[in-house]
Symmetry: C2
Subunit: 193 residues, 2 copies
DNA sequence: TAAGTCATGTAAAAAGTTACATGATTCT
DNA sequence: AGAATCATGTAACTTTTTACATGACTTA
């Protein structure tokens, strides 16, 4: 069973959903830590169903196409529970921007600084979104956030990770950009003299 | 051209290397931000060579198997330079631990806390290693670290990212573990009463 | 003597992305 | 009239991982 399978089970443990909804939930809820496309979700759901971890019910709709609502089974919940405490294979993230940073000495500093400023801005935006989400959770789910068996606590933990990650990432982008800008300014002054 | 191709060009822009060395360099230098295996490196090198971005020379060795030392070409350096300032497609990281956090409400809190303590420790170790590396760079390459056209500056930037990432990640793991431990203790007290 | 390093490859399987395919409703 | 949302799938392609394959030298 792939990680995607467990991601789907994790979402279905909270509520029954269609393939379409699962695809958008992954983008919205765990977006920066997992991603997928619907073309991967539909076959994965079929595999989960074949393994008896998920069932589905067709819900007829008059105005929209019929939908298949998927629900987790007792077996599926048991598999998910086992998986959570299973050792995590430490696969490294693939971050193309860090890769570019490692190679930036060959490129134009002004253009490179612009790239990093752009990403600083992007991650500041994401940080603000996470902070709003976190604040809303603290307001709405105050009592639940201490209950470790509540999905609200788990959601809040993921958001906290998002906040920390985006804050650190944006700061790093700003640091790189500032260094490049200072260096570019220094070499301009030197050539003018 | 894939990101892996540029990662290899980025390493070859600094020094000529064999496929074996490239594989280990990726692990050592950009480990947590990119990873690959030798089985991906050798075909990738062949493709780079077919595209004229890399050349190689066979170096005979008496005590060890002969090696193919790969060097970047002028064309390869030009391609790398263009790539650095190219917009980065914002692919999301795939972090199984965050996924587990999102699902932890279904699992045993004591076991889950142990998992997060283990990862806190792992990232603290990595943080310490990055901090040592960063300090060594500041000592040895002091003057170069301001030169934006120096590979030392680029290496230092990657290490700074590593430090920030590991520090934040370890703190998050500790936060999750502490919450789970507090929650588990509270529910134990409640059941004893 | 067993494990680790140096050294280069191929093959198969799994995971992920992008494109193809269809079709109704709703909003701008 | 065009774009977005809801809704489900398949096909082709790329990327990544894991396993197969070999072999000498060095260190514990």
């Amino acid at each position: 069973m792939s990680a995607l399978g467990y991601a789907l089970l994790g979402l279905l443990a909270r509520e029954s959903l269609t393939g379409y909804e699962l695809t958008s939930r992954i983008r919205e809820r765990v977006g920066p830590f997992w991603s997928t496309s619907h073309s991967q979700v539909y076959p994965a759901l079929a595999r989960l169903e074949a393994a008896g971890l998920v069932t589905h019910q067709v819900v007829a709709q008059s105005d929209r196409p019929n939908k298949k609502v998927h629900a987790i089974t007792a077996q599926g919940l048991a598999a998910l529970t086992r998986w959570v405490t299973t050792p995590v294979a430490p696969r490294s993230a693939r971050d193309e921007l860090v890769l570019r940073a490692y190679c930036m000495w060959v490129a134009d500093p002004v253009e490179t600084a612009a790239l990093f400023r752009e990403h600083a801005w992007l991650h500041e935006e994401r940080l603000a979104a996470y902070e709003r989400k976190g604040a809303a959770m603290e307001r709405e789910w105050a009592t639940d956030l201490d209950r470790i068996d509540s999905p609200h606590f788990a959601s809040y933990a993921a958001v906290r990770r998002g906040i920390g990650h985006e804050r650190e990432y944006a700061a790093w982008c700003r640091w790189v950009a500032a260094r490049l800008e200072a260096g570019a300014a220094a070499s301009r002054t030197a050539s003018e003299r």
